[in-house]
Subunit: 396 residues, 2 copies
Amino acid sequence: MRHHLLLRNIRPLGGDAVDMLCEGTRIAVIGANLAAPEGCAVEEGHGALLLPGLIEGHCHLDKALWGMPWWVNENPPHREARIANEKKLRRPLGKEPYRDARALAEAELANGTTRLRTHVDIDEECRLSHVEALLRLRADMADRLEIQLVAFPQSGIVRTPGAEGWLDEAMRMGCDVVGGIDPSVIDRDPVRHLDAVFRLAERHGKPVDIHLHEPHELGAFSLELMAERTRALGLQGRVTVSHGFCLGDVPAARGDQLLAMLAESGIAICTSAPAGSNVPPLERAAALGVTVFAGNDNIRDTWMPFGHPDMLERAMFVAMKNNLRSDRGLELAFGTVGAQAAKGAGFSDYGLAPGARADLVLVEAETLGHAVVERPVRRLVVAQGRVVARDGRLTA
Amino acid sequence: MRHHLLLRNIRPLGGDAVDMLCEGTRIAVIGANLAAPEGCAVEEGHGALLLPGLIEGHCHLDKALWGMPWWVNENPPHREARIANEKKLRRPLGKEPYRDARALAEAELANGTTRLRTHVDIDEECRLSHVEALLRLRADMADRLEIQLVAFPQSGIVRTPGAEGWLDEAMRMGCDVVGGIDPSVIDRDPVRHLDAVFRLAERHGKPVDIHLHEPHELGAFSLELMAERTRALGLQGRVTVSHGFCLGDVPAARGDQLLAMLAESGIAICTSAPAGSNVPPLERAAALGVTVFAGNDNIRDTWMPFGHPDMLERAMFVAMKNNLRSDRGLELAFGTVGAQAAKGAGFSDYGLAPGARADLVLVEAETLGHAVVERPVRRLVVAQGRVVARDGRLTA
């Protein structure tokens, strides 16, 4: 017999109080005064706000130092030095990809993340060892947390002998998405880098997610090359540009032109909305039809001391960065960890309607905007129809 | 007999574990294995990190909706509309300046703020009623929280008949600082606005704190006018520009020129480091000798849905906005709610040395940087030698 779970007196997205019956891994019925089937677990909601399971659109589980003692960080100021710094520190810090990734993934789950896209380092030092560890993690947590693995060439493809082969092998092993990074700045050869990424995507029939930190018109040029390749291969709706700081660097009219190109090419944007960088403008992107979703990016690792594995906090940062102060604006920001993330990253069966996967988060908040601003402790997290966390902690 | 308080096994600013004896309102002795005088209260620190009481450099206690139900906010997009919006909403929202300011001030104290500068609205609608309420609050909390009141002409001086007289009266009633705001954008007359502010400062022998949101070279022009008046009146070290977004708008070389002018004129900067605006660059300002301190600005009011009355969180936002990722950078950010704030806002007897006021905060953290990033619950808050909060809550 399939397990049942009845949530009583909950307010989906802040609407009127209702009951919700889950059957197996799905939402079955939403309505007033639902009867509990025999043997059904019942949770009293006390009128709390119900959210769909939160979506982490961009993180680096394998880089995590989460749960380790504080590491006194002499973070170098440039990206290439940070790449070298990380490789140098993996051993002295005692990094173990499976253990460290699991600690962070469980912390995400305890905060209501039920779907997650992580980039996984592939370089000449770790080769496929992180991929192997994360594939195991994806399988071990599959009944609670849906994990997408991006095969991520952190140190480049063209300039790293063997990298394209490792990426190919990673996709064969089961990675979900082909990654890339700064085709000009890191690999010094935008065409060969992007050709390699899109060749792998075509060969394996998988989507693409490319880190793009490149500034101003250099980044814009990379976006144009990505759009050409996306359209040529019919990959519309399956390509993401992560960060895309250049979209916040260029003048507004040029930004609109690039956003229109992304919309037409079906390229989504994933942002962590860092306070200290220019970022793609959320309201403008939404108005022009570009899907924008959010990710925490680096959390407490050799790259970044900041961060919590909490997608409500990330939605707040998105709202703060875009200066969205009205409740309507806060709802737009919530979308970047909700419906827009499901669409952009391709997580199916998302939402709070019957038939959707029963991934649910219950918080003490009056409205969606209030939840984003207050980021209350997650009173209950349900994943695939079962309670997995209470009051911010995983259940046993 | 004066009260004594002995803190055992605490790590000042993350250094080695010591004991600290407070006598009356002051720190008396710091050392190993101190003996407790008869009748002395003793707190066991268990090696926790000890910070000086945190400093809130810029808030608006009288605007607070803290502790009220969530207000669905249709925040208009421009500053002048927000000013009108706020006046329109004071009555329907049931605002009571003393009660609302007290709720927020107590929440600040529970999070370790022991000194606080608040701007207090003076306009044609509220006139001196907010000043009266906040003077009473300042007196009522004087043994726990040192409050500075800035007489703040939110709706301008030149264009608001009677405003200069109310400001004059507010200073006579006991306000600590003369406020001002956007001399060109709000009052449409930079010279007459600034002349009024500096005239009041001279007449009452009090410092100045001027809100400056004006962009780019318009803001830079206001800074130049402020610097001229500061030097002419010998007010070096007693003038603050709050926000100063223009310092982040102009090219770096022009910014350096303006920062050098502020340093030479002894004008400090107070920032809330909003993610969505250009802000004064902290490292550059510090290098050029400008005092920069931090404030939460609007917290959960008609202006802003965001914010917590937590100066460690604000220090984190300062670090994030300035992209300060190393422990050294996090310490620089902490200074904006610590020593730099004491200097910039003129709070005396600050610090962790014998003779300083015994305003102390104990948190579970390994280093100062860790405390900024983690913002742990305040285990203990001591104000003027007495325990006032435990585990984030005020003691009875």
